[in-house]
């Protein structure tokens, strides 16, 4: 065998089997490990969903959604958390009223006015991103110091205000993203037809970005609905209907006249009382020693999680679709 033939067989071996055994094993092994760890990472999601569907949906009924919490130990009374659903809706509503105007305007600034004030827009964007990462309990403490201390009452106003601060940066950043998806040619066309900046933004850009902005707001609101920490230090909880609900009921029933107006004047006061919410109810029922309250915590969790996940999945698919369409 000549030297040339020898090197030829080695070359053959290298062509047909280029990788040494150790490198192949390393590569395969790492792939296995990575897939295993990924499966491990997804496991909690399934565990949580499984438990919530199992525990929560078995006790879910119409009665639970429309009745007040029954006193512990009372068997013959319907037990539910309707007041907490309304309380959450009330506070998320207040939060939306606070955060949407400011947030959308900030988004417009970042996207439309940021072009000529790059440095300013960058610093405001940076601060907004930082604001979105402030721990929610710190926002709650801030709202406590600002509203609970001055009005001397734990209230839905303070809770809604805290949730509004939490929603604000999310609304601002998603609005900016939504506006950036609108093609520049729209802006140029509007300007070419003599549209001012106000007209361009409100007649052209906002309408075409509206679906994305709305899903952003929905996502922010659903996140706010799940917040607990700021509500514990601001809104507390209660066993009764949020007072605003009672007051609105009275107004609906009373004849229109002076009485209605005097009742309308009482509405601000009704915002200054402790208010129940889904998340605080889950928190307090989770650590309760009574089994029926634990079960109710699971049911409330399934309702809350259902709302949050639907909003989240819906908004993600809508934004994803819009991103792909471009």
């Amino acid at each position: 065998m000549t030297q040339a033939q020898k090197s030829n067989t080695i070359l053959d071996a290298e062509i047909y089997n280029p990788l040494s055994l150790s490198r192949t094993l390393f590569s395969r092994g790492m792939t296995l490990i990575a897939c295993f760890l990924t499966a491990l990472a997804v496991l909690p999601l399934f565990a949580i969903l499984y438990k919530i569907l199992g525990e929560g949906l078995t006790h879910l009924s119409w009665e639970v959604l429309v009745s007040l919490p029954a006193p512990v130990g009372v068997e013959d009374q319907p037990n539910g958390f309707a007041n907490a659903i309304l309380g959450t809706a009330l506070m998320v509503g207040i939060a939306t009223l606070i955060s949407v105007p400011i947030g959308v305007m900030t988004g417009i600034f970042l996207s439309e006015f940021g072009r000529e004030n790059k440095a300013m827009a960058n610093s405001i964007r940076f601060i907004t991103v930082i604001l979105s990462s402030v721990p929610s309990i710190v926002v709650g403490v801030f709202s406590y110091a600002l509203i609970v201390v001055t009005t001397k009452a734990f209230s839905s106003l303070a809770g809604g205000f805290a949730l509004g601060i939490i929603m604000l940066p999310v609304v601002a950043l998603t609005t900016e993203q939504a506006l950036k998806l609108v093609p520049t040619s729209y802006r140029l066309a509007s300007a070419g037809l003599g549209g001012g900046r106000f007209q361009t933004i409100f007649r052209i850009i906002i309408p075409s970005a509206l679906p994305t902005i709305t899903t952003g707001i929905l996502l922010a609101a659903s996140r706010a609905a799940g917040e607990t920490a700021p509500l514990i230090v601001t809104a507390l909880s209660s066993q009764f209907w949020p007072p605003l609900v009672d007051k609105l009921g009275e107004i609906m029933q009373s004849p229109i006249g002076a009485e209605t107006i005097s009742k309308l004047k009482e509405i601000p006061e009704t915002l200054l009382t402790p208010t129940p919410s889904m998340s605080v109810l889950i928190y307090s029922y989770a650590s309760s020693p009574y089994k029926e309250q634990n079960e109710l915590a699971w049911t409330a969790a399934s309702v809350l999680l259902g709302m949050v996940l639907i909003a989240s999945v819906a908004s993600r698919t809508v934004t994803r679709k819009r991103l792909q369409n471009r």
Binding site: P18, L19, R23, F26, S27, M30, T31, I33, C35, T38, A41, V42, L45, I48, K51, P101, I102, M105, T106, F109, L110, E112, F113, I124, I127, T128, V129, I130, L131, S133, V134, P135, I137, V138, V139, V141, F142, Y144, A145, V149, L168, G196, R197, F198, S222, R223, G226, T228, I232, V233, S279, Y283, A286, N294, W298, A301, L304, V308, S312, V313
Partner: protein
Amino acid sequence: MTNPSKKRKKVTRKSPEINTALDLTDTSGEGLWIESGFTMFVWAFALATAGTLFWISAIIFKDAWPAISNFGLSFLWNPKWDIGELQFGALPFIYGTVISSAIAIIIALPLGLSVAIVTSENFLPPWVRSPLGFMVELISAIPSVIVGLWGIFVLIPFLLPLQQSLFDNFSWFPLFSSEPLGPGMLPAGILLSIMILPTVAAISRDVLLSVPVDLRSASMSLGATRWETIFKLLLPAASSGIIGATILALGRALGETMAVTMVIGNSIQINQSLLAPSYSIPAVLASQFREALEPLHIGALMYLALILFVITLLVNAVAVLLVKLMGVKGAKN
């Protein structure tokens, strides 16, 4: 030619055909008022959003002042927290916050990185990959109180035998030197790792995807295997972004309140064992604010909130800047 303003009136009111004489330099129209008013509004609201951050810090600092002037910086390393004697120190809470977050990072980093690699590489078909990434991101949408509920009723009972066997076999090791009760530092850390995993995974994935394709083509064409490319090229190239993602996740872990409050055991003592109950800054804020009556107690809680605020602010600022260095959008979530 007479007075131009007079002429303009005539044009708009009466005869549209002389519109060619329109004065384009005119600055008195109603449209311009809307325009400048709108600009002012947008500026004002944008500044209001940015100002909120400073407003929060000012208010909390103001309310923390009684405690700051009373205890000074020694508050940070004073281990005593006694409401009756009005003696307040932050050490037990700082310790609990830092250790539970550290456990969370140690667990979440390898898991999150593998999710990022698996969802950005192509060894799984796309129909598996994208739902996988989606599912991990869904974890971040679950309200933390629900994760806490799951922690109390599922995770703690599941971990208890494991903790017990750790104690039985390794009680000579300081980290496992106390009888497990159920709630404690370890369950809190594990629960936190579940909650911060999506942050690590999503941002690391974006960073990995933003590494230029040319680089990996070059590496593969020189004969490197997939994992050699990942370890020697992708991870080093994406390192600043991955570190940023980890720090961002750390920021979330430090401030996470409900899940930790529900499983950490809320006990004001520093115990080196991970099986012992502990406390964290957010947990003590959530559980003591409602009952705080003494101004000094409220002040001490505000001081704790200020510490948490400053730490998370610094951590997040560093993280956002690091991720920005990689030019990735993911930091915004």
